[in-house]
Amino acid sequence: MTQPALVLADLRKDFGKASIIRGVSLSVTAGERHAIIGPNGAGKSTLFHLISGRFPPSGGTVSLHGRDITRRSPFAINRQGLARSFQVSNLFPRLSVAENIRCAVLWSSGHRYCFWRWADNLADVSARVEDVLAQIGLKQRRDVLAGVLTYAEQRALEIGIAIAGGADVVLLDEPTAGMSRSETSRAIELIREVTVGKTLVMVEHDMSVVFDLADRISVLVYGEIIATGTAAEIKASKAVQEAYLGTVETDD
Amino acid sequence: MNFMHKLASVALVSLALTGPVSAQDASTVKLALIDGQSGPNGFIGESMRQHLQFFAERQNAAGGVAGGKKLDVIAFDNKFDPQETIVQLQKAIDAGARYVFHGNSSAVGAAIVDFLEKHNRRNPEQSVLYINFAALDPVLTNEKCSFWHFRFDADVNIRTAAITNQIKNDPSIKKVYLFNQDYSFGKAVRTAATQMLKEKRPDIQIVGDELIPLQKVTDFTPYIAKIRATGADAVISANWGNDLNQLVKTGGELGLPVKWFTYFANGEGGVTALGAAGVGRVFAVSEWHMNVPNPTTEKMADEFGKKYNRDMFFYRLDTVIAMLARSMNEAKTVDPKAVAEKLETMTYKTPLGDTYVRATDHQFYQPLYVSVMADDVPKKLEKTPFGFKTVGMSAAKETEVPTTCKMRRP
C-alpha cells in the first residue's frame, strides 16, 4: 500500500435543514479503483460535487495527495490533478468531438490562456488528442458536433474529457448509466484501459460493473458510509444487505 | 455559395452606396433640412420640415429667388446624432444642396459648424452655408462662431435678457430659483441669469441653483419640495422635454406658487404636456406666438394650420426665407459666400418690427415677446384649451448681448 491519493475526513453537506452528506470519511489509495454504491438519494453525486469543488462542503476536509483542497474552486482542484465526469453528459455541444478533447488537454499541456499561437499548430496537444480519440474509439467521429452524438458516444466522450488532461485521480459518476448490456461491457473495458496507473473513484449502480472493476467498494446510505471493503467483504456484509441490496433492483 | 453571397452583397452595397444621383439643376436652389425625423422626438423635425416647405412654397409663389429660381426643400434624418449628421450632411451636399437648415440640438449645430469650417476650407468650390433657426447654445456665436453659420433664433443669452427684462418690471418677484439641466445650455442660462439679474434687479436674491442630469429624473416631487423650502417666487428654467413638463406638472400638482420662466415651454407639445398646471404660471420667450395681434401673421398661421392640420410655431422661418431671398436677389447669385456677405449686414422690417443681423457673430436680432400660458385667449394650441398671451415685449436692441466671437473669414 502506498500513501492515500484522496482522503475525505468527516465531510458534511447541508442544504438548508436537510443533511445530505453526514460525516463521510474515506481514504483512497493511489492506484486503487474505488467504487461508491448506494441507493438513490444516498448522496453519491453530492459527494462527488463536494470532492470536485462544485459545492463547498458544510464541514470536514478533502485532501488530494496530502494537500488540502477543501473549498477550492473546481479549476484549482483540477489543476492539482483531479478530474471527473458527470452523471448526465456535460459536454461542449457546439464544439466537435476532437475540440472537446482538445479543450480538456489544453491546460495540462501548459497552453492555458495563450492567445498568440494557433491551437491547430500545437503538436503536443494534437498528439494527445489523437491518443485519447483512439482510446475512446471516436476517431471516426472526430469532426461531429458533440451535441449530435449518440448517447453511448456521448458517454465515451464524457470519460474522454475526464481523462484527457492526464489527471491521476479520476472521478466517474455513473459512467454506464442507461447503457445496454453490450455497451456496458465495452464501457468497462474502456474505463479499465484509460485508468491504468490512475486512481479511480466511481459511482455506479450496475453491480456487475462494480464487482468487475472495483478493488474496493464503499456503501453510502443516507449520507453516511456504512461499509468499506473488497467486493467479497461487501457482499458478505449484513448491514449492506439490509440497507442497500434489498432495495437496489426496485430502485432502478 | 459563399462567394456568390459575398458578390451579391457587394453588388447590393455598391448600389445602395451610390444613392440618389447628384444632379445639379440650375433652376432650383436646394435647401437641405437636416434634423431628426424619426424616434421619440421626430415630430419636431417633421414640423420643421413642414414649416420650411410652407415658407419656401410661399416664396416660390411670389416669384422664387435670384431671377425665378425655385426653392426646393429636401429633408435628411440625422436621428439627432452629431455623427449621423455628418453623414447626412455629406449626402445633402452630394445631392446639390448648398444651404443647410437645422434646428434641434446645439450639439448637432456645433457638429455642423465644425464640419463646414473644415469642408469649406478643403472644398472652397463646394462651400455650404448653415442656417441655424433653433439651436440656442451661445457657443455657436461665441467661441465656435463661424462665417458659414447664421443663427436666426434668439440664443439662450438673448432669451435670458428678455426674461430678466420681464422680471425687472415685476416687483412681486424677490426670490429666484435657477433650475437647469446639467449641460452646456443649462450652465449658460445659469451664468447669464445670475449676471443679468444682478445688473437689472440687484435686490433679487437667487435662492437656489440646481443642475439636474439631462433626461434622467423620473420623479420631480423632491425638487418641488426643495424649491418650496427656499420660498422662491420665480423659477428660471431652460429645461426641455420631460425635464420641463414634469417639473411644472409636479409643481402644479403640489401647489407650488411660483412663476416659471421657461425657454422651451412654448415649443411643440409643450402645452399638451403641461396642461392646466401651466396656466398663468408658465412664461416663455418667443419672436412670435399665435395670439400676437397682427393680420399678416394671423393669416399666415391660418393658412399653415389649414394645410398641415397643426399649429404654426416657426414664424421666424418666414423671415429667414425672406432675408435669404433678398440676399440672393441682391447678390444676383445663389453662391453661399456671396449670399452670406449680403446677409450678414442686412436689416429687415418684418410685420412685427425691425430686425437685423449682427455681422460680428452672425446672430440675428428681432423683437421678443414674453408670454404666459393662458386659457382665455382666442387662439388655442394643439387642440387644448390653452394658448399663450403676451405680457411683455423687448425690442431687438434691448436684447443685444456681447459676443466674444473672433470670426475667421474665408
Binding site: 490562456y113 | 445602395a16 397643426r310
Partner: protein, 421 residues
C-alpha cells in the same frame, strides 16, 4: 466558432477578394456620399466583429458594448487634439491603437465587475454599467464635452509620409487598413487556445471549470480583447467624424450593434460583417424612404429571433451542403412559391404600417400616400380593406406553402442523411 469553410482554399480566395474589393471600391463608386457611407460601414464592421467576440464566441450578451467604443473614441479625440498642439509625438495614424488600449483598460475595469457571471445576469450588469457610464458622461464635462461632445481636426497633426488625412479618401484607406488588421486578428483569436476555450466556456461554463479553466478568467480575457477591438473602432470613428458625443456610448448605440450582429448571425465569423453592412445601409437609406424604418428594423429583429436564430449567415451556411451535393435546385421551386406568398404577406403588412403612419404623421399631405408604385387613398375604407385582405391572403398562402419548403428540406435530408444539416 462553427464557421465551416470546409475548403480553406475557397475561404481564403473569398476573403482576399473582399479585401481587394474594399480597396477598389472608391474607384468603382465615385461619389463623396458613398465614401462617407463606406467609412461608416467600415467602422461599424470592426465594431460589430468586436461585439461578436463577446456574443458569438464567448456567449456573453452585453447591452453596453458602446461604452468601450465611446470611451476609446473620446480618448482618441483628446489624443488627436494633443497631437495637433504638438504635445504628443505620434502620428494620427496610430491613434486607433492607443484607443484600443484604452478600450482594453476599461474592459479590464468593468470586466472584473461583470464577468463573474454569464447569461442574463451578465446582460443586466452590462446594462447597469452602460447606464452609469452614459449618465456620468454628462456630468464629467471636461472629458466628454457635455452634450455637444468634443471635436478635433485630424489634419492638424504633422503629415506622416505625406498622409495628412485631410481627404476622406485617405481616411477610408486608414479605416480599411485598420479594419483588415483587426478582422484578421479577431479571426486569428478564434483559432488560439484561449479563443477555443472561449467557445467552450460559451457552450458549457461549468464543465470548463472541471478541465482546469476558470470560466471567469476566460470570459474576462475575451471581454478585454473584445473591448480592445471596440476601442480600435472607436478610435477610427474619432478620426473619421472628428467629433465624439455622449450618444456614442449610449445604450441605444449598444443596442444597435447587438441588432446588427444578431441579424447577421452571431455564430459565424462573417455574420457580423453582413449584419453591419445591412443594418448600416438600412439606417442610412431606409430612413430616407420611410419614417417607420425603426419599426421595420424591430420587426426584422424579432422575426430573426423567432425564425432564424442563426441569422443571415446561418441561413447561408444551411444551403452550402445541398449546394455541394448539387441539389440546391430542388429547393428553388418551393422557395419561389413560398417566397412569393411571403412577399404578398410582407407587402400587406408594409401597406398597413405605411398607411397608419401616413394618417398619424402626414395627414396634412392629404389622404394620398405613394406606396410601392401606386397612390393609395388612405381616406377610403376600401384601401384599408384591400390592405387587410392582401395581408390575410398573404399570411394564409404563406402558411400553406411553407410546408412545401419544409418537405423539400426533409426530402433532401433523407437523400443524404446527416450530412445536410
Amino acid at each position: 466558432m462553427t464557421s465551416t469553410f470546409t475548403s480553406r482554399h475557397t475561404g481564403r480566395i473569398v476573403w482576399a477578394a473582399a479585401i481587394v474589393l474594399a480597396l477598389l471600391l472608391p474607384e468603382l463608386v465615385a461619389s463623396k456620399t458613398a465614401l462617407t457611407k463606406m467609412c461608416l460601414i467600415g467602422i461599424t464592421i470592426v465594431f460589430a466583429l468586436s461585439y461578436n467576440v463577446l456574443l458569438g464566441q464567448t456567449g456573453l450578451l452585453s447591452f453596453g458594448h458602446a461604452v468601450y467604443f465611446g470611451l476609446s473614441g473620446f480618448t482618441a479625440i483628446h489624443l488627436i487634439n494633443l497631437i495637433g498642439q504638438h504635445q504628443l509625438p505620434i502620428p494620427v495614424l496610430l491613434v486607433p491603437l492607443f484607443a484600443g488600449i484604452t478600450g482594453a483598460f476599461f474592459g479590464l475595469l468593468f470586466g472584473v465587475l461583470s464577468t463573474r457571471r454569464h447569461g442574463t445576469a451578465f446582460a443586466m450588469i452590462s446594462l447597469a454599467i452602460a447606464e452609469l457610464v452614459a449618465a456620468s458622461s454628462l456630468i464629467l464635462e471636461s472629458f466628454f464635452g457635455g452634450e455637444s461632445g468634443i471635436t478635433t481636426d485630424r489634419s492638424n497633426g504633422p503629415a506622416f509620409f505625406g498622409i495628412d488625412l485631410a481627404s476622406q479618401l485617405q481616411v477610408y484607406y486608414l479605416i480599411v487598413g485598420w479594419g483588415v488588421l483587426s478582422a484578421i486578428a479577431m479571426y486569428a483569436y478564434t483559432r488560439t487556445p484561449l479563443g477555443r476555450m472561449a467557445a467552450a466556456v460559451r457552450d458549457n461554463p461549468e464543465r470548463a471549470e472541471f478541465i482546469g479553466y476558470s470560466s471567469r478568467m476566460v470570459r474576462l480575457l475575451s471581454f478585454i480583447i473584445s473591448a480592445f477591438f471596440a476601442g480600435i473602432a472607436g478610435g477610427l470613428a474619432a478620426i473619421n467624424y472628428e467629433i465624439m458625443t455622449a450618444t456614442n456610448l449610449s445604450t441605444a448605440a449598444s443596442g444597435s450593434v447587438l441588432i446588427m450582429v444578431y441579424i447577421g448571425g452571431a455564430g459565424f465569423f462573417y455574420g457580423p460583417i453582413i449584419g453591419a453592412i445591412l443594418i448600416s445601409l438600412i439606417q442610412l437609406s431606409l430612413s430616407d424612404i420611410t419614417p417607420a424604418w425603426l419599426l421595420y428594423l424591430g420587426l426584422l429583429f424579432v422575426v430573426t429571433v423567432l425564425f432564424a436564430p442563426a441569422g443571415i449567415a446561418g441561413l447561408v451556411e444551411r444551403h452550402i451542403p445541398p449546394l455541394r451535393a448539387g441539389m440546391l435546385h430542388r429547393l428553388i421551386p418551393p422557395y419561389l412559391l413560398s417566397g412569393g406568398a411571403g412577399l404578398v404577406f410582407a407587402a400587406g403588412v408594409i401597406a398597413l404600417l405605411e398607411m397608419n403612419y401616413h394618417i398619424t404623421l402626414n395627414a396634412h399631405e392629404g389622404p394620398l400616400l405613394g406606396l410601392f408604385w401606386m397612390k393609395v387613398d388612405t381616406g377610403q375604407p376600401m384601401a384599408w380593406v384591400a390592405a387587410i385582405i392582401v395581408t390575410l391572403v398573404g399570411f394564409y398562402l404563406f402558411r400553406r406553402t411553407w410546408p412545401i419548403v419544409a418537405n423539400a428540406w426533409n426530402d433532401l435530408d433523407s437523400r443524404q442523411p446527416g450530412d445536410l444539416r
